[in-house]
C-alpha cells in the first residue's frame, strides 16, 4: 500500500532498531571503500602478476611450478587446497547473521562469494591435478630434467623454412601475434591503472586523520578534561554575568556543547539537542540528569518566546555547577562507546 509499495511490511517489523541500523550502515559505508580498495588491489595485483608471468605457449599449457617436480607434493597441495576451500566455505556459511545485517547489494555479493567458494573449493584442486604435467619418469625427476623439456615441447617440422612455409601464412601468423601482444599490453596497462588507483585509495584511507577513525574517550583525555572544565566555567560566567536569562541559558548550553566537542563528542549537523545529549550520556558523560535539565532549559530558551526569569537561570546555574563538579571529580566509565564520533 502506498506509493513506495510496502510489500516488505513483514521484513520491516522484524528488523532491529533504526538507530542501530543507521549505525551499521554508517560503519559499512566507512569501512566499505577501504575494503573494496584492498580487494581490488589484491585481485588486480594477482591478475597483473599472472599476466606478466603467463607462459608463452598458451594459458592452457601444462607445466610445473618450482615445487611441482614431486607428484606426491602436487597431490598433497591439491588436497590441502580442497580442505582449505571447504573450510573457508563452511566458515562463511556459518555467519548468516552477519550476512543478514548487510544491505541488499552486499547481501547479493555475499551470496555470490558463497557460491564461488563452494565451486572454487572443488575446481581449484581439480585444476591443480589436471594442469600439472605428470611425466613417466616418476616423481624423482626435477623440473630441469632435459627429457621433460623435450617431451613437453611440440614436435618441430623439418627445418627447411625457405621451402615449406608459405608467405601468406607467415603474414597471418605475425598479425595474430602482433594483435595479441597489443591486447596484452592494453590489458596490462589497464590493470596497472586499476591497481594504482586502488593503492591510492587505500593509502588515503590509511592516512586519514586519527581523530575521525578513533574518537577520544573521557578517561584518555587528561588535558582535554581541563579544557572541558574551563568551557563549563565559561558557561557559568555567562550565566552569572548576563543580564538576560534566556541568552544566559543559551550561552551556558553552548558552553556545554563546546566542552563536549573538546572532549571528542562533536555535535553532528543533523543532531538535535536530545540527540547530542543521548550520545553524550551513552559515551559516559557524568551527571546525565543535570545535562538533561540544562538541555531542557536550552530548548525552552531557544525555541519559545514566553518570558524566562531568574528561576530558569538558577536552574541552569545549578545544573551547570553539577556538571562542572562531576567533571572535576572525574568522569564515569562509559558503558557504551557508541556514538562518540
Amino acid at each position: 500500500m502506498g506509493r513506495e509499495r510496502t510489500a516488505d511490511g513483514r521484513r520491516r517489523h522484524g528488523t532491529a532498531d533504526p538507530a542501530q541500523a543507521a549505525d551499521r550502515r554508517q560503519r559499512h559505508s566507512t569501512v566499505g571503500p577501504a575494503q573494496a580498495a584492498l580487494a581490488v588491489l589484491m585481485v588486480g595485483g594477482t591478475a597483473l602478476a599472472a599476466l606478466l608471468l603467463h607462459p608463452d605457449n598458451g594459458l592452457s599449457a601444462k607445466g610445473r611450478g618450482p615445487l611441482g617436480g614431486n607428484a606426491v607434493l602436487v597431490v598433497g597441495l591439491a588436497l590441502l587446497s580442497l580442505l582449505v576451500g571447504l573450510g573457508l566455505y563452511e566458515k562463511f556459511r556459518d555467519q548468516p547473521d552477519t550476512v543478514r545485517e548487510l544491505d541488499s547489494p552486499r547481501q547479493r555479493m555475499a551470496h555470490g562469494i558463497s557460491r564461488v567458494l563452494r565451486v572454487g573449493a572443488w575446481v581449484v584442486p581439480l585444476l591443480i591435478l589436471v594442469l600439472h604435467r605428470f611425466d613417466s619418469y616418476g616423481s624423482n625427476h626435477g623440473p630441469d630434467d632435459q627429457p621433460d623439456r623435450e617431451s613437453s615441447s611440440p614436435p618441430l617440422p623439418p627445418q627447411d623454412p625457405a621451402s615449406t612455409r608459405a608467405p601468406a601464412e607467415h603474414a597471418a601468423h605475425t598479425l595474430y601475434f602482433g594483435l595479441s601482444r597489443i591486447l596484452l599490453i592494453l590489458a596490462v596497462a589497464l590493470l596497472v591503472v586499476v591497481v594504482v588507483v586502488a593503492a591510492l585509495r587505500l593509502w588515503r584511507y590509511l592516512t586519514r586523520p586519527q581523530a575521525l577513525a578513533a574518537p577520544a574517550t573521557y578517561e584518555t583525555l587528561d588535558d582535554e578534561q581541563e579544557r572541558l572544565v574551563q568551557a563549563v566555567d565559561s558557561g557559568r560566567r555567562a550565566l552569572l554575568d548576563g543580564a538576560d536569562a534566556r541568552a544566559a541559558v543559551i550561552a551556558c548550553y553552548a558552553a556545554m556543547e563546546q566542552s563536549l566537542a573538546d572532549s571528542g563528542l562533536t555535535r553532528r549537523a543533523s543532531d538535535s539537542p536530545q540527540d547530542l545529549l543521548e550520545r553524550a550520556v551513552a559515551g559516559g558523560l557524568p551527571n546525565g540528569a543535570a545535562a538533561t535539565t540544562l538541555t531542557t532549559l536550552f530548548r525552552e530558551a531557544r525555541y519559545s518566546t514566553h518570558p524566562m526569569d531568574g528561576s530558569h537561570r538558577d536552574l541552569a546555574a545549578a545544573a551547570l555547577a553539577e556538571i562542572a563538579d562531576g567533571l572535576r571529580s572525574g568522569p564515569s566509565r562509559p558503558e557504551a562507546r557508541t556514538g562518540t564520533s
Binding site: 500500500m1 502506498g2 506509493r3 513506495e4 509499495r5 510496502t6 510489500a7 516488505d8 511490511g9 513483514r10 521484513r11 520491516r12 517489523h13 533504526p18 543507521a22 544491505d103 541488499s104 547489494p105 538576560d244 536569562a245 534566556r246 541568552a247 543559551i250 548550553y253 553552548a254 556543547e257 555535535r267 549537523a269 543533523s270 543532531d271 538535535s272 539537542p273 536530545q274 536550552f298 530548548r299 525552552e300 530558551a301 531557544r302 525555541y303 519559545s304 518566546t305 514566553h306 518570558p307 524566562m308 526569569d309
Partner: protein, 335 residues
C-alpha cells in the same frame, strides 16, 4: 464498548491543559489497546493536528480496535464503512432519493456525516469510491447534485489498509494519500506485551474492554485550538522546509513531498509539543514525526522495490542528514 460519561466544561485550553486532557484520553485507550504507545500517540497527534490518519499494517494488529477506541474515548460520533469492491461513491457520501409523500427529492446523508469515520480496508474499493472521500477529507464538506453540505466538526477519517495483499485491492490514489496527515504503522507486540494482551482478555471475560468517554467534540475542537497556540521558531520552519526539499532532491526518490507535507510536519510537531505539555515546538518534535508525516507522500524509484527499501527508510536517512537548527539563534534573543 461505550459508556456515557458527563462531558467536562471546556473553554479556551492552554497547550498544557490540552496536553493533559490528551494524555488522559491516551491512558484510557491504553486499557483497551495494549502495548501500542507510539502508534496511539501518533493517532492522537493526527486528531489534535486536525488531520486524517492512515493506519497501515498487517491483519490482526488492532487497527480497527484502535480507531473505535479513539471514537469512544473522545466522545465522537462514530461510523464505519467497510470498503468492498462493489461499494459506490453514493454509499459513502449519501444520495438523494424520492420521497413519495412530499413528492420531492430528499438527501439521505451517507456514513461520512459523522465525527470520526473509520474507513476500514480502504484499499479494497476502486479509486472512484476512494475519491469520494477526497472532498470530505480536504474541505470537510460533501457536494452531491450541486449542493454542498458541511460535515460535522471535528471530522476525522481513520482509514486502515492492509499492505501485503494485492489480490482484489486498489492502490490509493496519490492525491488521496497526500490528504492523510500521517501514516501510522502498528507493528507486532513484544512477547511480554502480547502475553499482557492475552492476560487482559482472560481477566475481563469479555471480547472487548469497556472504555469511558472522557471528552466530547467541543473539547476536541478546543484541543485543536490549543495546538494553534504552539510557537514555531523561524529556524524550525526552515528546518522543515529543508527536510521537505531534501525529499525532492534525494536520489532514491522519484517524486518528493508536496508543500502539504511541510504543513503536515509543522502541525504534527506542534501537536507533539502539546502532548509534551509545551507551548513551543522543538527540532525533536519535527524529527519524531518526519517519517509518519512524509514517508507516504514520496514516490520511490521503481528499482528500490526490488532492493526492499521503502519510504520510511529513505525519510529516516534524510532526517539523519539534513542539518538541524544551530545552537545559537541567528537573531539575538530576549526574555
Amino acid at each position: 464498548m461505550t459508556s456515557p460519561q458527563p462531558t467536562p466544561h471546556h473553554d479556551t485550553l492552554t497547550p498544557r491543559q490540552a496536553g493533559e486532557r490528551a494524555a488522559a484520553v491516551l491512558d484510557e485507550i491504553r486499557t483497551a489497546v495494549v502495548g501500542k504507545a507510539e502508534p496511539l500517540a501518533l493517532v492522537m497527534l493526527g486528531v489534535l493536528a486536525g488531520g486524517h490518519v492512515l493506519i497501515e499494517d498487517l491483519p490482526g494488529l488492532g487497527k480497527t480496535l484502535l480507531a473505535r477506541s479513539f471514537a469512544t474515548t473522545l466522545g465522537l460520533d462514530f461510523r464505519r464503512i467497510q470498503f468492498t469492491p462493489d461499494l459506490l461513491p453514493s454509499d459513502v457520501t449519501g444520495a438523494p432519493f424520492y420521497d413519495q409523500r412530499t413528492a420531492d427529492m430528499v438527501f439521505r446523508p451517507g456514513p461520512v456525516f459523522t465525527h470520526l469515520l473509520l474507513a476500514d480496508e480502504i484499499n479494497r474499493t476502486p479509486p472512484k469510491t476512494q475519491a469520494a472521500l477526497l472532498e470530505a477529507m480536504a474541505e470537510s464538506q460533501v457536494t452531491v447534485d450541486g449542493s454542498t453540505r458541511p460535515l460535522p466538526e471535528p471530522f476525522v477519517v481513520v482509514a486502515t489498509a492492509n499492505p501485503i495483499e494485492y489480490e482484489g485491492t486498489y492502490t490509493l490514489p496519490e492525491a488521496q494519500l497526500d490528504r492523510f496527515l500521517l501514516r501510522v504503522r502498528m507493528g507486532y507486540l513484544t512477547a511480554s506485551e502480547e502475553t499482557g494482551m492475552l492476560r487482559a482478555r482472560v481477566d475481563r471475560a469479555a471480547p472487548e474492554a469497556v472504555l469511558r468517554t472522557l471528552s466530547d467534540p467541543g473539547e476536541v475542537l478546543a484541543m485543536r485550538a490549543a495546538v494553534e497556540r504552539v510557537e514555531v521558531d523561524d529556524d524550525l520552519l526552515e528546518y522543515v522546509v529543508a527536510l521537505v526539499r531534501a525529499t525532492r532532491a534525494h536520489p532514491h526518490i522519484q517524486v518528493g513531498s508536496s508543500p502539504r507535507g511541510g504543513l503536515a510536519l509543522v502541525q504534527l510537531a506542534r501537536a507533539r509539543a502539546v502532548l509534551d505539555l509545551r507551548d513551543y515546538a522543538t527540532p525533536e518534535d519535527v524529527k519524531s514525526v518526519a517519517v509518519p508525516a512524509l514517508a507516504h507522500r514520496v514516490t520511490l524509484k521503481p528499482e528500490l522495490w526490488v532492493r526492499q527499501i521503502d519510504g520510511d527508510d529513505v525519510i529516516r536517512e534524510i532526517v539523519q542528514s539534513v542539518p538541524a537548527p544551530q545552537t545559537l539563534p541567528r537573531t539575538p534573543v530576549a526574555s
